[in-house]
């Protein structure tokens, strides 16, 4: 029996869980305090579980938890702290690795550069361990049995920009962690649900048919944009997620690092060297100083003092300050510059990956990424609104009417104001109206609360945001032309899952047939598009704008020899389905099945591309 609706925010830097009992009326999501090791031998329950995993050295003994005395690793606050003084034993940013397009995300690669005594784990396993910690904490609190997390309805959030394979890997981690009744939800949608929860019924006065809400989510590690339109259907309000942005590895951590870099330079200029642990403290101090300066406009500077590592404090404490000018220059103008509507993020040509690393955004300007998003999604409302009247001006941008902020970074009024001002200038030049700001949600825990709200909504309590898949998916078909050295055979892309496919629906079989060799893995190139909204399943693109289709990690199909002989070529068709969980399921169906309902699953993201392979050795 299901007793609770549960929402989990599996974040890049922090994880949180909200729950609400299903019995009883008007229950509001409550954040569960998660017991975690905060220092050697000390256990404390805190609302946020830092998404870090620490492999304790054998000299440290077990990392005991109330539910397991002999555990060899720690998740949470102590793991985060160990990231400073024993970094090679700590995994951080597992979520960014989980969405890394060119590595094998099921391979043991983390922590990067771990010593030999550590058996490295995969990005999937790291996420599984964080979720497992939540499962154990939940069961310890509620007593397991019928109240075990495995029996509750769990909504797990992912960035809207996660592609099909990253979503699938997230589900894999959740299932391994013992979460059985699972649904995925995009984080910006969760933020909007949290906002409706915070506003109560008043929200319906603030969002009306015709509104387009732009959700700007700048978290610790990632930046995510989504647009959600309010439309009227059969006399009642409906919310439809119409567009999502690219996955941008850019967030508050980058800002703190940039400030720390500046101050380090300043200190070293004064002849005061900064060691590694001081640098880590400097990053923390910069975050605190930045928040103080943003929080109190009357301050001109925030003093910063960094203790040395030794036990003497006086005489060896580094002193400096972060001035308002500096924080304005680095954070406001550096990350949120005033840019023209047609500016685009600079992209660094991808050098051969000699070192295994995360694909951080090469342009730090959130505003440029936003300009690019709005321009790419200019046509996002076309389907909802129908064709514009003849002669009407075609907007060059998607025009939001309201903005909802999410993520810790966006707590700063200064940054919100800069973003809104810039956006309004763009809209003005494109013939649009200024946006309103939707206020009222707690930005730190909104996603977990919103996810829990969605779990309640799924049971019929409240309005549901529709939208389906945020991408159309394509499989690459190589033309059979004579091989010419140095020239890649032309590839066409066949749509296997159209944009906006809803959960629990199947796309019709695309007519194309593939020949698959029995017993051998066959790899297909795989693409996604966040802008091609009109392609139906089966459409073949011979030629496309490079900006419209992103190549995703390839997918692979292996036909078991069962009933057939090795080496036979079997003609199959592809069938796509969006599962109830919210993942894309691709299956191959033989044209001449040996038994009824014969199908094989096509594995998404089986392994990385060649770049990932070479990185394995590092």
């Amino acid at each position: 029996m299901t007793r609770y609706a549960v929402g989990i925010d599996l974040g890049t830097t922090h994880t949180a869980l909200a729950f609400a009992p299903l019995e009883g009326e008007g229950e509001r999501p409550e954040i569960m305090d998660v017991p975690q090791i905060v220092a050697p031998g000390e256990l404390e329950a805190r609302p946020l579980l830092p998404s870090f995993l620490y492999f304790a050295h054998e000299s440290e003994g077990p990392q005991a938890l109330p539910w397991e005395a002999e555990r060899r690793f720690a998740v949470g606050e102590y793991a985060r702290a160990r990231g400073v003084d024993a970094p090679a034993r700590v995994i951080g940013s597992a979520k960014s690795w989980l969405s890394h397009p060119t590595i094998d995300r099921r391979a043991g690669i983390l922590p990067i550069g771990a010593p030999e005594d550590i058996e490295k784990i995969s990005p999937v396993e790291a996420s599984w361990r964080y979720l497992e910690h939540l499962t154990e904490a939940f069961d310890a609190r509620f007593g397991g049995g019928e109240s075990a997390l495995a029996n509750q309805e769990v909504v797990l959030t992912v960035p809207a920009s996660f592609d099909a394979s990253a979503r699938e890997l997230t589900v894999e981690a959740a299932i391994a962690a013992g979460i059985e009744k699972l649904t995925l939800l995009e984080e910006p949608q969760a933020a909007l649900y949290a906002w409706t929860l915070a506003r109560g019924d008043a929200w319906r006065k603030e969002v009306r048919p015709g509104d387009v809400v732009l959700v700007v989510d700048v978290g610790g590690g990632t930046t995510d944009f989504s647009a959600i339109a309010a439309v009227e259907r059969d006399g009642s309000l409906e919310l439809v997620r119409v567009a999502v942005g690219d996955h941008i590895l850019l967030g508050g951590d980058n800002m703190d690092l940039a400030l720390a870099h500046l101050l380090r330079h300043k200190l070293e200029g004064e002849g005061k060297p900064v060691d590694r642990s001081q640098h880590a403290s400097l990053v923390h101090a910069c975050r605190a100083a930045k928040e103080r300066l943003f929080g109190d406009p009357s301050l001109d500077a925030a003093p910063i003092a960094i203790a040395s590592r030794g036990s003497t404090l006086l005489g060896s404490t580094l002193r400096t300050e972060l001035t308002r000018d500096e924080v304005t220059r680095v954070v406001v103008d550096g990350f949120f510059p005033i840019v023209a509507v047609d500016s685009r993020p600079t992209s660094r040509p991808r050098a051969a990956l000699t070192e295994l690393g995360l694909p951080y955004a090469s342009d730090a300007a959130v505003t440029r990424h936003l300009a690019s998003f709005l321009a790419r999604q200019a046509g996002a409302l076309a389907k909802l609104q129908g064709a514009p009247p003849p002669g009407a001006r075609v907007p060059r941008l998607l025009h939001p009417t309201a903005v909802l902020f999410n993520g810790g970074v966006m707590k700063a009024d200064k940054l919100r104001a800069r973003l809104v001002d810039t956006l309004n200038v763009w809209l003005g030049t494109d013939g649009g109206e200024p946006v309103r700001v939707l206020e009222g949600a707690d930005l730190d825990l909104a996603v977990a609360r919103g996810a829990c709200t969605y779990a309640l909504v799924r049971r019929g309590k409240g309005l549901r945001i529709r939208g389906g898949t945020a991408r159309a998916y394509y499989v690459g078909i190589e033309s059979s032309v004579p091989a010419v050295p140095g020239i890649e055979p032309p590839v066409s892309a066949m749509c296997v899952a159209p944009f906006g496919m809803e959960e629990g629906t199947e796309a019709e079989l695309p007519p194309h047939e593939f020949g698959v060799v029995v017993g051998e893995p066959v790899s297909f190139r795989f693409y996604g598009s966040t802008v091609r909204r009109d392609d139906v399943a089966g459409v073949v693109l011979e030629d496309w704008n490079r900006n419209q289709l992103d190549e995703l990690p390839p997918m692979e199909l292996t036909l078991p020899a069962e009933g057939r002989s090795d080496g036979d070529v079997v003609p199959v068709k592809l069938r796509s389905q969006i599962t109830e969980v919210g993942t894309l399921l691709l299956e191959a169906e033989p044209i001449r099945p040996l038994k009824q309902g014969e199908r094989w699953r096509v594995e998404l993201s089986v392994r990385g591309q060649s770049e990932g392979e070479s990185a394995e050795g590092s």
């Binding site: 000390e42 256990l43 404390e44 003092a305 404090l313 006086l314 580094l318 002193r319």
Partner: protein
């Protein structure tokens, strides 16, 4: 000291340790008492009671040693977050105020964060310091200390000099079995 005082107060059968009075004083006292017993009936009754129960021992108070593990844990917490033990263990006399100020920022910021995370502290009295306050009969003497010209019966009117502090919550992390709380901060040895 506390231990000795406790033993004396606690021992009911200990002999009276009052010093004997000199003879002249005793003669004078006897003379006074003779006439007062004759005139004052109440006084006579009290003298009679004093004769029958030569010494009533005062009731003992109990004292307990508080367990030290949570105090050690709090020290450890304040050291970890705010370097408090480092600060208190260092001799600061020879340092300039600027150095002490820099260190105090580290200590203040860290300890404040730790304190806020683990305890809720609020003033006992919410009025502004310097304001006149009234104390009704039955006020809690643990909460409010009377200072200055202390006499008479409540209600009292006075000036609030210090608002006082009350911890409304204190939660420390749980300790794993076998954890040695005496190690306030482990020594750090860097390898490699």
């Amino acid at each position: 000291m506390l231990h000795r005082a406790g033993a004396t107060l606690g021992d009911v059968n200990a002999p009276p340790d009052d010093a004997p009075l000199p003879l002249v004083t005793r003669l004078w006292l006897a003379w006074l008492c003779f006439f007062r017993v004759l005139i004052d009936g109440t006084f006579a009754a009290r003298v009679s009671a004093a004769r029958e129960a030569p010494r009533l021992a005062p009731a003992p108070a109990s004292f307990t040693a508080s367990p030290t593990s949570s105090a050690l844990q709090l020290l450890s917490l304040l050291q970890r977050e705010g370097r408090l033990v480092d600060f208190l263990q260092q001799d600061i006399t020879t340092f300039a105020d600027a150095d002490i100020g820099a260190a105090a920022r580290v200590v203040h910021e860290g300890c404040r964060k730790a304190l806020r995370a683990h305890a809720a502290i609020e003033p006992v009295l919410r009025q502004a310091e310097g304001a006149r306050v009234e104390l009704a009969a039955g006020f809690d003497a643990d909460e409010v200390k009377l200072v200055g010209d202390v006499r008479g019966q409540p209600p009292y009117a006075g000036v609030l000099r210090h608002r006082g502090w009350r911890a409304t919550r204190l939660e420390l992390p749980l300790l794993a079995g076998g954890h040695d709380a005496h190690v306030l901060a482990p020594a750090e040895v860097e390898l490699g």
